[in-house]
């Protein structure tokens, strides 16, 4: 493999930025959660690139932990989406803009 590490990291950065744009631009909570997934995946890609560059398995181990975290985050996030939908009958994040403490 002779691909420069910079280009591999660049791909991770691009994917992360696309995900960040999705979180910032979209107001549909399902899209926001999917964009967060893209960001987590891009962070994992950066770990794999680092591990491959140094020839260590540590990067892959870190990816496994990111995977476990993403699974837990998605489970809780989707439960929250269901609650939001039950309460406001909509998946627009801006609808839930007032708090009642």
């Amino acid at each position: 493999m002779t691909i420069p590490t910079e280009q591999q990291i660049l791909l991770a950065v691009i994917l992360f930025c696309i995900g960040l744009t999705g979180v910032l631009v979209r107001r549909n909570v399902i899209f926001m959660l999917m964009s967060v997934e893209v960001m987590l995946n891009a962070a994992g890609l950066a770990f794999i690139v680092g591990g491959a560059a140094w020839g260590h398995a540590d990067g892959q181990v870190m990816f496994l932990f990111i995977l476990a975290m993403a699974a837990a985050e998605v489970a809780v996030g989707l439960a929250l989406i269901i609650q939001l939908y039950n309460k406001f009958k909509s998946d627009d994040a801006d609808k839930a803009s007032d708090m009642r403490g």
Binding site: N41, G51, G55, D58, A79, I82
Partner: protein
């Protein structure tokens, strides 16, 4: 092999862009799955076959199924059949199918290019600095054993949190309980 990386990278970026600009959640989910598959090919090229398999099994398999489940749950109404027919229009699935076909061609190319003898295969794997699953597992259960247990805690907390948040609001019919809820 380099060209395979660039093709997969462009496909991943295109699929992710289509995902965040999509209007329908199910179509975007299709593109997200395709993007994850493209990233999985990149993992394989970077010498992480175990992670590539996990990406397909857990990300594109388990987590995306959760998304599909919730999207279907939110769209429960009478005209489900009509909606499903609309989802099967050719314009909707051609994009993801094309990208997946290109990824499949890459995989087939890699398989065909594989040398026959195991000795040569091992030499190529060594040249690519491939990290075998065994090395990952050995590191996971020696150096990182504490973090593995923390991940288990996190998953249990996730399960309990999802169960608690997913519960429906209880409706109490008794006057006393209703008043109590109001005061809270």
């Amino acid at each position: 092999m380099n060209i395979l990386f660039y093709i997969s990278a462009i496909l991943a970026i295109v699929a992710t862009l289509r995902m965040i600009t999509g209007k329908n959640a199910v179509h975007s989910l299709l593109y997200l799955i395709v993007s994850l598959l493209a990233v999985s090919v990149i993992f394989f090229l970077l010498g992480a076959p175990f992670i590539a398999a996990l990406e397909v099994i857990i990300y594109a398999g388990a987590i995306m199924v959760l998304f599909v489940f919730v999207i279907m749950m939110l769209n429960v109404d009478g005209n489900g059949i009509k909606k499903e027919r609309a989802l099967l229009q050719p314009g909707i699935w051609t994009g993801p199918s094309l990208i997946t076909a290109v990824l499949f061609l890459e995989m087939a190319y890699m398989l065909v290019q594989q040398p026959a003898s195991p000795v040569e295969q091992a030499a190529i794997a060594a040249a690519r600095q491939e990290i075998p699953p065994g090395a990952v597992g050995a590191l996971l259960f020696t150096k990182y054993i504490l973090v593995v247990e923390l991940a288990a805690f996190l998953l249990v907390a996730g399960i309990i949190g999802a169960y608690h948040l997913g519960q429906k609001e209880k409706i109490s019919h008794h006057r006393f309980l209703k008043n109590q809820e109001k005061s809270i």
